[in-house]
Symmetry: C2
Subunit: 733 residues, 2 copies
């Protein structure tokens, strides 16, 4: 600990510091705890500079040598011990903005200047705030040079503690070039922050400037992360500026704001409990429909029809206050009357009846309730929602919704929803916070024949939310990719933890709506939830390996395309195209999606050239030219798949009479299958330019594992790019 | 002219400056011309600092007071006249990078320091380059403070003279935050540059800094623009830094690089000549097909079939060396044998026969040749292409291609191409540089039933290019929007001039491929053309009112959607949505597309509230909630159209049983028609969330003038955004 060192200087700070210095020998946590307790006892919520620096010092965050002087003579003496030049700063718990108060002087070069400076600062401070308690003047080693950066920490209502990093200076503020990571950060997280700003090159030394010591800076970030994690009451922390140079990183100024109010506790079952209950809810053998109805047009009727017509093979128990039979099934007055266990209860009754029925669900020991009814928080009925949540907690019921369309789980042919049955089984699990977006998911999925394992409506998210779904789908063998639409994350921290774990196994794609400030405003009026700062979402998603979708179509196309593609084994992408013009646009799209167009080795270049006309362009894109027969496509694609240096292939097809669309589509699938038989599998995507027949060819290719798009060069490359983003984040390449 | 002022200082510069100063009384152009002539005579291609400053001075570009001293004593004397502090800089035609040479000293505060500084600089310069001609040392008023900015000019091979503006400093360099405009710039162009950088806020004064004098800065940019326009031999110019403050803008350092080689002349007919010839080519009454064939599979056969089956009503003359009749039409040996005039000749013969046939086309006085054949510059046969261009110039023939699919002009039922006939007439004219992209345009247009007036292949662009097409479509009453795909602009200046003029009347959308550096590399290998710097394209397009498409789909969707929409009369956009979740995503898209969500006035808010459930959200988006009947959509849409404060409407539809998709689509069209009858027309776009039936509803809406998309919130808003971008640039709102 650097704490002992700190004591070698005359420490003449506030009571808290004086007190803390008597505790030499204690652990660094003890010292910080002692200071914070003292500050709390004094009713303050900000640390003085000496308090802040001492805390930094014991946490290994380098700060300038310094001390606090109560008199001008003391200041001069202290400055001589530290060494000139020095900086003088007012120390007062009542003055946070020191510069504004005229409380800062820099570059004092000798004892006389310090003596005079002391007087000036004290006078300025009195003029600024006559009633301020002026503790004295801080005398500080003057640091500078290198690159000014900012390191800080904030407390986000959803994500909790985050560390922040950016360059210093006004320009950076204007450009909002700052990056965040969840605390605690790993060393890799901290390092990634240095590359996570637009101006990252500045740290590497430009125009003859020296590069900063990256490890020192990463250590500093890690230590800040450790500090705010150890002491949750540190709400905000600013090290600004930090002077980062070749030799190290020194925090020249420290600002720490505290919040002693206890954090809001959020209900969070164990991972094991989530899995146990979610498995019964999502894959039930026995389903009760509360509010089942024989009457056409009623939601309870639609739910019954969908369960039955969807082909669900488990037991269905209609619950109705009067009916004896509904749609050929025996009806019960209450779930309590049903013999044996029930796995999930689907609610299709008005909001005002939900609480009473939910109590019976609890008494029956049913682990989950799917609450289709609206009329809760989204209409202002916050109490009604709190009431049902309280009942759920009492009985250990997990709630899906309220205000949802229900959910689909296709491996069980389960359509627990009032929408249409879903008909294309597959491996993509989708969810939406909004019902409208849910309907778009259903429509697109059916139209595009996207294979789906589940579609889930989360609505008001009174209980079950995105991380519960992640935890369920993580262990669901019928799911290979998870795609979620959300407007807020009620517990961003829990989501991040689940996503970080799950994304190592299965791609997680998220469309975060309300991403722009106008969008965020609409989100608040819609759900009453505070939308988070978008940059924080951006950075946390990346930190957790989440693939962010920028649009609804991206969400849908990624969900559809990613599971079709094998995981690439490396970064070398090759474009093979019949249309030079497509090659150019596909190259543009590669750059937009951070894909690496392989630099073609001479032998491979020569090998490609053997198959293409002399005026075709080898290199990358491989331009086979427009008038070529099927064999040219075949030969070049086969070569692309066979050569182990190539890891992924983008195809640009040009509709000609010589190689018509379906001929192209079939030959691609043939070559792909031929290679698969030899154990070679690489991601292939295709862009098809041509007359309307290319649509059929694109559908055929997609069906056979090649995400293919007519009239678009950008979408196939975006899908491949999303696969790559996931594979990189999961550490697979 | 500030020129006389400049003479009040002792001018002791290079011969050129000394010479120029004897010409007091001449115009500012004379003085600059004199200096440049002198520099040329000396065989130099860079100006000395005094030369540069004098040129600035006479063009009204403020520079620090200064003079050149040949001895230390002179320097001290000069400094005393200018006033301390001063800057000293080496003056030598052989030393361009003064700082690197140790040739710069700043902040010299008195005569002694200047004397000593003079000696230091001369020694450093000798050490740096022993053979350098050291003219002396420049003594300069030391300026500083305010905001450092850079103003410059470059010469782009395609666009010619461009002025550039950015902030000073390394960080800005790293972030590449710089903006360009074609010179000469208008005052508005110059002003727009100040807002055209990401860091624009810095100029407005942040953190208590004072705002710069915007008019002074705009004047400085205008003067630079005037200078480089007057003197094309000024290839590059850098004013770096310029100190911009509240009071003015002073260029502290000037660097001017000259290029005396004469610019490459480009063939450019007059606008009137372009129109005359293009009208005959694009709307011909008599077409010759050179290489017409009866043989299936031949291109000359496909062209004949498409002309005949496409329904072309003009005369078709097959040209064939042997045949007497082809597809029921009399065939001729040569165009020379055809009686009467011919408007255009379509070539469907191998490259090697083109030149001879083209001569006959010239002799026949045919104004245009459509060169389908490949085998010219794109395969390395540059000479072959030069040969046909020479023939074309000799006879005044305009060439389309070579290496193209031909073109369509639907008002004449003309399919002069080997592709399929095009069947949906309309108002969008599209073109592509690449054949593959042309096929994608044809396929998409047919699939989406986009109404098209023309589709044109430009291929190698040996002659006819994008600006010829702009000039033709400008006066073509059958065309309302022009959408172009290009990889390079062979004459960016001509394109920009045409686009600036045409975009005031009709929207011009451009997809510039090769926009990223990787893409640009592919473009060079494809067309042999140097791709321009993308930022220049970006800025010039904006300056000329061109709507830039970011992807092929954007190009196609904009071409399809923009002509459907009436021009908005103002910026107030309102979202009316049945799905709150769509509202959030539509709001996100509004921000992404620079659309202004109207702040709802209280009376209008109240008016909307009357139609929607109490738990619906008014404000903007107007969230009518999901379970509403058709009347709620009707009432709110009608209100949105009727209220004159609202200028455009975005609809978010949510598929329900109560308001099924086609019911929604029909009611929207009904209300729209009802309002149209009252003279109210506003742009409406729609996003449809629901099951597959929404696709039919979207098609119906589109057909009736409402660009509508299933499963997408972003595309309809992007189309509306494109319409707005055009309307703003054309000065219509």
């Amino acid at each position: 600990m650097a704490y002992e060192d700190a004591l070698t200087l005359k420490e003449r700070g506030t009571a808290a510091v004086q007190d803390a210095t008597r505790h030499a020998g204690k652990t660094h946590k003890d010292i910080v705890r002692h200071i914070l307790d003292h500050v709390k006892a004094e009713g303050r919520n900000a640390l003085t500079a000496p308090e802040g620096k001492l805390i930094c010092d014991v946490y290994g965050i380098a700060v300038p040598k310094e001390g606090v002087a109560a008199t001008a003579a003391d200041a001069a003496q202290l400055a001589s011990e530290i060494g000139f030049p020095v900086v003088l700063k007012i120390v007062s718990p009542d003055i946070l903005h020191k510069t504004e108060a005229g409380g800062v002087l820099v570059g004092l070069a000798n004892a006389d200047q310090v003596t005079q400076g002391f007087a000036t600062i004290m006078e300025n401070a009195k003029r600024y705030n006559a009633s301020a308690n002026l503790v004295g003047v801080q005398v500080q080693q003057m640091v500078g040079g290198g690159q000014e950066v900012i390191v800080g920490a904030v407390t986000d209502p959803s994500f909790g503690k985050l560390v922040a990093f950016g360059l210093g200076g006004v320009l950076v503020e204007v450009l909002k070039d700052i990056t965040f990571r969840l605390a605690p950060t790993t060393r890799d997280d901290a390092r990634s922050m240095l590359d996570g700003i637009a101006a990252a090159e500045m740290l590497k030394g430009v125009r003859g400037g020296e590069p900063v010591n990256r490890e020192a800076l990463a250590t500093l970030i890690e230590n800040v992360s450790r500090l705010v994690t150890d002491f949750p009451e540190i709400a905000e922390m600013d090290l600004n500026p930090v002077f980062a140079s070749k030799t190290g990183a020194i925090a020249a100024d420290v600002r720490i704001v505290l919040d002693f109010s206890p954090p809001v506790e959020r209900y969070r079952p164990s991972q094991e409990a989530i899995v146990r209950q979610m498995n019964r809810i999502m894959r039930p053998d026995r389903v009760a429909v509360i509010g089942a109805s024989s009457e056409d047009g009623k939601i309870g009727n639609s739910v019954m029809k969908n369960l039955i017509n969807g082909g669900y093979q488990g037991e269905i128990y209609p619950i109705h206050p009067k009916a004896d039979e509904i749609m050929g099934r025996k009806a019960y007055r209450s779930v309590l009357d049903v013999p044996g266990n029930i796995d999930v209860a689907v609610f299709a009754i008005p909001a005002k009846f939900v609480a009473a029925a939910l109590k019976e669900v609890g008494q029956k020991g049913i682990p989950g309730a799917v609450l289709i009814p609206s009329g809760f928080a989204e209409t202002g009925n916050v109490e009604g929602q709190q009431e049902i949540v309280a009942i759920a907690r009492e009985y250990g019921i997990r709630l899906m919704g309220p205000n949802i369309y229900g959910f689909y789980y296709t491996p069980k042919n389960l359509c627990a929803t009032f929408c249409t049955p879903y008909d294309v089984k597959g491996k993509a699990a989708l969810s939406s916070q909004s019902g409208g977006i849910g309907m778009a998911i259903i429509g697109f999925s059916r139209a595009a024949k996207m294979g789906v394992s589940a579609i889930v409506g989360l609505g008001n998210k009174s209980d079950i939310d995105e991380d519960d779904l992640l935890t369920f789908f993580e262990q669901d063998d019928n799911t290979e990719i998870i795609a979620q639409h959300c407007e807020d994350l009620k517990d961003g921290r829990a989501f991040a933890e689940a996503a970080r774990r799950v994304s190592k196994k299965k791609p997680v794609v998220v469309l975060k709506a309300g991403r722009t400030s106008l969008g965020a405003r609409a989100a608040s009026s819609h759900t009453g939830a505070l939308a988070g700062n978008d940059r924080i979402y951006e950075d946390v998603f990346r930190q957790c390996g989440v693939i962010r979708a920028r649009s609804l179509r991206d969400l849908l196309e990624f969900a559809r395309g990613i599971p079709k593609l094998p995981t690439p084994k490396g970064e070398n992408v090759v474009i093979i195209t019949g249309a030079g013009g497509s090659g150019v646009l596909l190259s543009d799209a590669c750059v937009d999606n951070s894909l690496s167009l392989m630099t073609m080795p001479p032998d491979l270049d020569a090998a490609f050239r053997k198959f293409i006309p002399p005026f075709g362009a080898a290199g990358n894109p491989v331009d086979i030219t427009g008038g070529e027969p099927p064999t040219t496509y075949q030969n070049t694609i086969r070569l692309g798949l066979e050569d182990p240096r190539i890891h992924a292939i983008i195809l640009g097809y040009w509709h000609t009479i010589i190689t018509p669309p379906m001929v192209f589509a079939k030959l691609v699938v043939e070559v792909k299958e031929e290679m698969k038989a030899k154990g070679i599998e690489k991601p292939i995507v295709a862009s098809l330019a041509g007359d309307v027949e290319v649509e059929e060819a694109a559908a055929y290719l997609y069906e056979h594992g090649v995400p293919a798009y007519a009239y678009s060069t950008e979408i196939p490359v975006a899908v491949l790019g999303a696969k790559y983003r996931w594979a990189r984040a999961a550490g697979l390449i």
